[in-house]
Symmetry: C2
Subunit: 317 residues, 2 copies
């Protein structure tokens, strides 16, 4: 359960006076999410998600909310912030910056099939294309700099074997000039729970949510994050048919360049590293009594090891 | 036939007075080689190779000759410059800097087998280790900077398809920070004709010659140059068993790091590119009537294409 900041109905009603949406008829906490506090809110006007931002604010928050408005206007089915009277997309609630966002239909899926992966690839390419004309700029908040800084802080705390793996992978990643890959806004966290389908076995995506790790990076990074979550076999290896479906779906709308094909194994490693690191950092940081339960880093360490092995395979040794 | 600078017996005898080797009993032009003029020279004291340097001199030549002295002293079977009275390793002959080098036994081979490749790998690792304590420094003269400059000069002269391939590969290579790979002195040109075996089917290397492209670079580059020449099947693809023998031979003496395993497909491309470019440049530059016949660039363009295809293979598209 991940409600970090409780909100009462009286507080909510007072806050909603800043909007033109009527008064609340529903206020239901949402358990999912480890970064923010979320509620379903209904009013006479419609259904919304209320998000209280636990860690972001100011220009950073402005970027996320403006990006969602931009993408929604471009036809990407993502939450769009409802404007307050006066035009602002957020306001303070219970001491936190908060926004009221359109609530999307559909549900996320656990078991992915080729159809889902193909639809995801196509949607991701559309998202990248729509994002390419977004005027604001912000680097990927979990990009190369964050990776270096986080790793430096974690290294002294890790068991020797993990520290060695981390250092070796940082050195490997430092071999690459990723700025030269085609780039733009990436979602950065497009796991299964951030994509909503029209039906459990339905191939139509009706929602893409949780843009709070978005920023500029190599587009291929986003695709690698997806492959590592959507296209894995139980052991962690990539499943060939679902990976093919993901890449084909993407490629059909935004063809992958020769550079990107060459860099694919590197980005699969970078994407695995990013989530291993963030989970390690979350585990260090979280006070479990208060905050949501941090996800286990171990599966992403394994994923990283597998991707390294696949990329480094010299068939001859 | 590649004698660019003729030398007469009278000239030679006068020049040999600077040495302590006696007078010439043999002066035979050597046909091989497209960079320098070489003669077999015999005297009462022994058998030598006389090299007249057509393009290098000064500090550059000093580096090559000092490197060969260093490696020979460390047990690498390479030519060692005979010192002139006074200690210099070279002197002017027919208007060119010239050196008298020890002549090595053995002969190069055309058809490579696993044994040859294993011996080559082991010798290359020994060469790298011996070179790692060589005190002089000089970047690979056919390294990244040369590649960029040469490509810029060639691009306007190439057919559109070749220019596109070249530009794309330069961009791909620019993705990598090769300075982070283990590095040191590389031979840079260790083709079959620069390695001498004790017998045509003998696995023992008794000579490594032609160090005039040596300099500092990623050691893996040297190994990739070797693989691209020694381990190819008739179509240009790498032959698995000979490549395995090469890498194993090397690895047994100087273990390849995880970084190097990951970068191997990139270096195979870099090594193919280097020779495609130099052959293109030679073809532009050479006056065939005077200079030796330039090698055909086309096979190395094909090799580059094959290495790109192998490195970029997304099994899923």
């Amino acid at each position: 359960m991940s409600v970090f900041t409780p909100v009462g109905t009286a507080e909510l009603d007072a806050w909603l006076l800043g909007y033109d949406v009527g008064t609340a008829t529903e206020l239901t906490p949402i358990a999912a999410g480890i970064e923010n506090t979320n509620y379903f809110v209904s009013t006479q006007q419609g259904s919304y998600v209320l998000t209280l931002f636990e860690r972001v604010g100011g220009e950073e928050l402005h970027f996320y909310l403006a990006l969602m408005s931009h993408l929604a206007a471009a036809g990407i089915p993502c939450p769009s912030p409802v404007r307050r009277r006066g035009g602002s997309a957020s306001g303070m609630l219970s001491g936190k910056p908060a926004a009221l966002l359109s609530r999307l239909p559909g549900a996320s899926i656990e078991q992915t099939a080729e159809d889902h992966c193909a639809a995801l690839g196509e949607m991701l390419a559309r998202l990248h294309q729509a994002g390419s004309i977004f005027p604001d700029h912000r680097p990927n908040p979990r990009g190369a700099r964050w990776r270096r800084d986080t790793a430096q802080a974690l290294l002294p705390l890790l068991p020797p074997e993990d520290a060695a793996l981390l250092e070796e992978e940082l050195r490997f990643q430092s071999l690459f000039h990723l700025p030269d890959l085609p780039r733009g806004v990436v979602h950065g966290d497009l796991f299964r729970d951030n994509v909503l389908f029209d039906a459990p076995d339905g191939p139509r995506i009706v929602g893409v949510i949780d843009f709070y790790f978005a920023g500029e990076d190599a587009w291929l990074f986003d695709l690698a994050v997806c492959a590592n979550d959507w296209c894995v076999a139980p052991g962690g290896e990539l499943d060939a048919s679902r990976t093919r479906a993901l890449l084909r779906g993407y490629h059909a709308r935004r063809p992958l360049t020769a550079l990107e094909r060459g860099a694919w194994p590197v980005l699969l490693r970078a994407a695995a590293l990013r989530f291993w690191l963030s989970r390690l950092a979350d585990r260090q940081r979280h006070d479990d009594a208060h905050l949501g339960r941090a996800k286990d880093p171990a599966p992403y360490r394994e994923l990283l090891r597998l991707r390294i092995r696949a990329a480094s395979r010299l068939p001859w040794l």
